[in-house]
Assembly symmetry: C2
Homo-oligomer: 134 residues x 2
């Protein structure tokens, strides 16, 4: 049996619905493509589930590790200060351990999306779509 990895897709949250739609949509695409993962979402503010509720959603899933992935383009105050504080990860450490179904489960904090050919590809695709609909 393969090890099952939990992915907690972390969103900023917004009073508009779009941020949640994007975080949720990206989480669904990951879950669909990588079937050894269990994916949940959690928001910093203004939307639910919260990040803590997102972590609790892994109860009963049997994941051996959880990676919290900020669905943010770049590091900033939120990814470097607010989210580590919410998740109980020190600013230097990139990990902690949480209790899940009575087990100790490592919670690892990943980098945000950052500079990547694939991000450039999506941005260029949006430009082409805008030109095509002009």
């Amino acid at each position: 049996m393969n090890e099952k990895i939990g992915i907690l897709a972390l969103g900023h949250g917004s009073r508009h619905p779009h941020n949640k739609e994007v975080v949720n949509g990206v989480a669904e695409l990951i879950a669909k493509k990588y079937q050894d993962t269990v994916v949940h979402i959690g928001f910093m503010n203004m939307n639910t589930p919260t990040m803590k509720e997102g972590l609790e959603a892994f109860k009963g899933s049997g994941v051996s590790k959880i990676v919290a992935v900020p669905i943010f383009l770049a590091h900033g105050v939120h990814t470097m200060e607010d989210i580590p504080m919410i998740l109980g990860i020190s600013r230097d450490s990139r990990k902690t351990t949480i209790k899940l179904d009575g087990r100790d489960v490592p919670l690892i904090y990943s980098e945000p999306l950052g500079v990547d050919e694939l991000v450039a590809e999506v941005a260029f695709k949006r430009a082409k779509e805008a030109l095509a609909s002009d």
Copy 2:
């Protein structure tokens, strides 16, 4: 001669350097891969060039159209209200015309990155990297 398209990569701006690094890095990747484009960057706040300065940077480039691409994951107050106001685009319209070297040049506003397989791919890559370095 192919038509040259201008792409203005729009960033949020941040008091940390990371947002500018990501917007700039993504802009450089687009410019490198799509050589019929002229790419400049512009920030909403806290970084320079501003969006207006970014538009002025197309002077002398000979671009026939400019697409302003929000390097934002999702729509929100910034992409729906603040940026259209800065660019002089009405909330309903997705375009305007600017004067560049004495010519009228269409300025078209694209969608932000949004839900995309490639965004999911990058997020999963960050999760894998975090696991590998654990």
